[in-house]
Symmetry: C2
Subunit: 218 residues, 2 copies
């Protein structure tokens, strides 16, 4: 069966963004250092509409994470503003179109968890469908849209944590960047792991980053 | 030159002990799960006076971490009680001899950071020397005792963090256990990383644990 997966880059001190997240600085102070391993890769540049880039072990891992899912679920903060850490933006009379511009890098159906109903938004090959009735309903819609392919949790970390705590996450991969951020947003914060057991199913290393893949044993 | 190093086991959610640390439960609730990768290894059992045990990639890593240092620096909480999280124990008229019993597993000179001067305590092949004038003085004494060998920070995490922030730590190794603890003690908490850069110098994996070694680039 198709899986629910999650991929994220984390610092050695367990953070996925620096402090002081704000518009134009969505990764917080210093947070862009986390993703330095990815920016120069062909598999990062291509979905962002850029040519060239390196092909190596890291680009293969990234390509796999981009190619495996057929749909994405994400929190509204990840779509852009609103329930994110910098308070509400113009989502009322004047619909806010998120962070992702006219050609978002997803190129597939995206389901956004929110408390505010609105019409589906189409941007290039990406559709943003807004789901107001919770994580299970969003997953069900995403599974239907994904067909035989996996569903990826697109973030933020709190949404991934909710799926993990609910026993719905099948596997996740952490890209451990050789960075210490000190302060910022934790990947897992006061998790309620219950009876969750993990199995490390794959380790891929490069000078730039270490990719650790875990299966959730249910 | 001999290095200052630090080795610790961490959960996937960045914790090195569970919640509710207390006497007899120094790793907190569930914290012993972190170290399951080590208990059955020959290189763990031997310094604890036990026979038998597995020899594999994990036991080699552990053996290396035990064999490389010629002296240890540790916080008083790690020695046992006192400045640890469960309040002061009998350290006054009646000297408290720590957690480690009559044959501690160190078998080398250990320098304990404390605010309370006391005589050096000898237990089997281990000596505990109590240092009241700070982390640099403790390191200097440990280096002298270690000769050509490395000095290891024996913990706790807060002591390792102090050495890292002071620019004195040369390398550290995190044994990432496939465990989610949810709550407990963080490896790095509100670190002041300053200009510290890391380089991942080695990754060793097994089904039980992933060993990530980092060099601090100064």
């Amino acid at each position: 069966m198709a899986k629910l997966t999650f991929d994220i880059t984390m610092s050695v001190d367990g953070l996925i963004a620096g402090p002081n997240m704000r518009p134009g600085k969505g990764l917080g102070d210093g947070g862009e250092r986390l993703h330095e391993w990815a920016y120069g890769l062909k598999s990062f540049r291509e979905p962002h509409g850029l040519s060239g880039g390196a092909v190596n072990a890291d680009s293969e891992v990234l390509e796999e994470t981009l190619r495996s899912p057929g749909a994405v679920v994400m929190g509204r903060g990840m779509f852009g503003g609103g329930e994110g850490p910098w308070g509400d933006k113009a989502w009322g009379d004047e619909p806010w179109e998120g962070w992702w511009g006219d050609e978002p890098p997803f190129h597939m159906p995206v389901f956004v968890l929110t408390h505010h109903a609105r019409e589906t938004l189409t941007k290039g090959e990406t559709t943003f469908t807004f789901v107001t009735d919770g994580i299970e309903a969003a997953l069900e819609q995403a599974r239907a849209a994904a067909g035989d392919k996996d569903v990826a949790v697109g973030g933020g970390a709190n949404v991934a944590q909710q799926y993990l705590e609910a026993g719905l996450l099948d596997e996740f991969q952490i890209h451990v960047a050789p960075v210490l951020l000190g302060r910022g947003v934790r990947l897992f914060d006061n998790l309620e792991p219950g009876q969750v057991e993990l199995e490390c199913t794959r380790v891929i290393e490069s000078p730039a980053v270490t990719h650790l893949k875990y299966r959730v044993v249910k």
